[in-house]
């Protein structure tokens, strides 16, 4: 397979995973609408208690995204436990204006029969699952983040017609979900009286090993990597495989610059080594790419 068979992947902006003040969210999207990102995912995916933006707010933002000539996708909770969460999910999935990204299996129940995206928290590990979901309306899937290039290559060779592949290309890796809110737990609070303390950590609460390695980042019920995963050094490979979309996961600082750096590298205006050097400046706990290269997720396997 030659590089020439595939056009350059497009860029997407993943949903904001943290609790940011409402104004900051609107400012963030106003800034990002000006960047060369092609797809913007909007919505709360972590915690149903976070209500500084309601579905209506995300729909309004989605209209702005479309007006800017980009695709808007509404993202949904990764873990659905309560009736209230299920009701909200059903309401979001009933809206036909926008493409919707499933986070929990429950969303598949509501989205079956219409076009949808399977997010990285839907366990799509093989061709049979891909075909099964494609027959139910899947138009795009985001690879589970622990899968590397070998599995990506196999899946891309067997993908059904008209189904796009998106990979997580920049950001702290989403690693786990729990019933427990770890931010509240570390503040000595319970989830039911959390005081929205996750709002104090716009990029998560860093967990450091006893020898000083910044290891994890706690974001409410989600555990992320502390290191920032990046595939900027793998752009040639990603393009050759036929990956359609590269996801950039929002962080509180420099996200627009990250998007521009990826875009410049995709346009070959900037080389990957220089681009990666820039990204390193914006990754407070360092960079990693181990999952992509078939190693432990925190390792670095790509050159640059």
């Amino acid at each position: 397979m030659s590089d020439l068979n595939h056009s350059a992947p497009r860029l997407s902006l993943g949903p904001i995973l943290y609790l940011w003040p409402r104004e900051q969210v609107f400012d963030f999207y106003a800034e990002l609408l000006e960047t060369p990102v092609d797809v913007i995912y909007l919505g709360e995916t972590i915690c149903s208690k976070r209500r500084q933006l309601k579905p209506e707010d995300y729909w309004e933002l989605a209209e702005r995204v479309i007006a800017a000539g980009k695709q808007a996708v509404i993202s949904t909770l990764a873990l659905i436990e309560s009736d209230g969460e299920l009701k909200t999910l059903k309401r979001i999935c009933a809206d036909q204006r926008f493409m919707i990204e499933a986070g929990d299996l429950a969303a598949l129940d509501f989205l079956e029969g219409r076009s949808f995206v399977a997010g990285h928290s839907i366990n799509l590990y093989n061709q049979r699952t891909l075909a099964f979901l494609a027959a139910r309306g899947l138009k795009r899937w985001v690879m589970p983040v622990e899968l590397g290039r070998a599995t990506a290559a196999d899946l891309l060779q067997q993908r059904p017609e008209g189904v796009e592949c998106e990979v997580f290309a920049f950001g702290r890796l989403p690693l786990a979900y729990s019933a427990r809110c770890f931010t509240a737990y570390n503040r000595g609070l319970g989830k039911d009286n959390c005081e929205f303390c996750c709002g104090d950590y716009p990029d998560g609460l860093t967990v450091t090993t006893q020898e000083g390695q910044e290891f994890l980042s706690l974001n409410g019920i989600q555990t992320q990597s502390a290191s920032t995963h990046t595939l900027l050094s793998a752009l040639d490979e990603v393009r050759a495989l036929g990956v359609d979309i590269l996801r950039i996961s929002p962080q509180s600082q420099h996200t627009a610059e990250v998007v521009r750096t990826f875009a410049s590298c995709l346009n070959e205006e900037l080389d990957a080594v220089e681009g990666t050097a820039r990204l390193r400046e914006w990754a407070p706990s360092g960079l990693c790419d181990g999952y992509w290269t078939g190693q432990s997720g925190y390792r670095v396997g790509l050159p640059g």
């Binding site: 429950a106 129940d109 049979r128 899968l147 570390n186 997720g297």
Partner: protein, 331 residues
């Protein structure tokens, strides 16, 4: 309410059957199951013997094929499903939608259970799995409080199995990648959390260290008790303070709330621990058999016997036990 006990080998299976299990669950000797440990699990001859032993004593056998298949190796999962079906087992426990789709199509008469690794925590998710794959039971992840479990049971027609005793997963099963982040191998991809080949124990001047894939999970004083190292039970620095940032090294024990579990309409209670010993499954099966029978006879008067808790404490990993997520304050 069925008592479902773990068996990592034939002696464990026989012990579970002999001491009160209504069903035992087992796996093959490869990465198709979530306890893919060296020396553990069953070859074909042992399965045939185990199934006969259990069925002769009216005990069911379930086979767990509950990891996620990737394209490279896919046939291992379909072959495992075919083998399990061929042995006449009472159910196959699956997690992967692709494997479920295969099993439902190829073996329409075999009972399929949705594994805890399948991550279904609500009626819509369970309904989706029921509609497409005809699942006959769902094992729910350890994220719901007991009132939530009761509510879920009221909202679905699929019988619900919960974990009652053993190691405590803190994260939603099937969606935890912590192990592969440090070691390259996870329950989903490899069938093991903290695979032993990637764990290091080291005595240093600062204390005893445990590492996974090179990452320091714990450094403790010499002589301090140490459980099997998993990332979620490690001790780290958070805002300058040294602590178990995710969970203490505790294990799950729900004996105290057994009447509530029964009243909630739980169909089966599962004991974790296929990687444990024959002694473990013997003791745990005995206690839980007695407890369930006593609770069924008179739920109002049920109190766990002191002797039960002593026996369970002896075989628990780590010094503490918890009711875990079934109690809302844990969240």
């Amino acid at each position: 309410m069925e008592l479902v006990c773990p068996a990592g080998n034939l002696p464990m299976l026989k012990a579970a059957v002999d001491h009160g299990a209504d069903a035992v669950y087992i796996g093959f000797r490869d990465d198709t199951n979530a306890r893919h440990f060296a020396g553990l699990n069953f070859n074909d001859k042992q399965i045939a013997e185990g199934v006969k032993y259990a069925h002769d004593r009216r005990v069911k056998v379930f086979v767990a094929i509950n990891t996620y298949a990737q394209p490279n190796g896919w046939e291992r999962w379909t072959a495992a499903v075919d083998r399990a079906a061929g042995f006449g087992v009472d159910a196959i426990i699956l997690a992967d939608m692709g494997v479920l789709d295969y099993a439902a199509e190829r073996h329409p008469n075999v009972n399929l259970h949705l594994s805890v690794q399948g991550s279904a925590t609500n009626p819509a998710a369970i309904g989706f799995m029921q509609r497409h794959f005809g699942i006959k039971r769902v094992v729910v992840p350890r994220v719901l409080s007991l009132p939530q479990v009761a509510h879920l049971i009221a909202e679905t027609t699929v019988p619900v199995e919960i974990f009652g005793f053993g190691s405590l997963c803190v994260m939603v099963e099937g969606r935890c990648l912590l192990s592969s982040y440090a070691s390259g191998q996870s329950p989903n991809t490899f069938g093991a959390c903290s695979p032993a080949s990637h764990v290091e124990w080291r005595d240093t001047a600062q204390g005893q260290e445990t590492r996974l894939g090179g990452v320091l999970l714990e450094r403790r004083a010499h002589g301090e008790a140490a459980g099997y190292p998993t990332i979620c039970k490690g001790r780290y620095r958070v805002e300058g303070e040294l602590r178990h940032a995710i969970e203490e090294p505790t294990s799950l024990n729900t004996l105290d709330i057994l009447p509530d579990i029964l009243a909630a309409g739980v169909s089966a209670i599962k004991i974790e621990g296929r990687q444990r010993s024959t002694r473990y499954v013997t003791q745990v099966a005995k206690v839980w058999r007695e407890a369930i029978d006593s609770c069924k006879r008179n739920p109002q008067a049920f109190r766990p016997k002191e002797s039960w808790n002593q026996i369970l404490a002896q075989v628990s990993e780590g010094a503490q036990t918890t009711i875990g997520p079934y109690e809302r304050t844990w969240h």
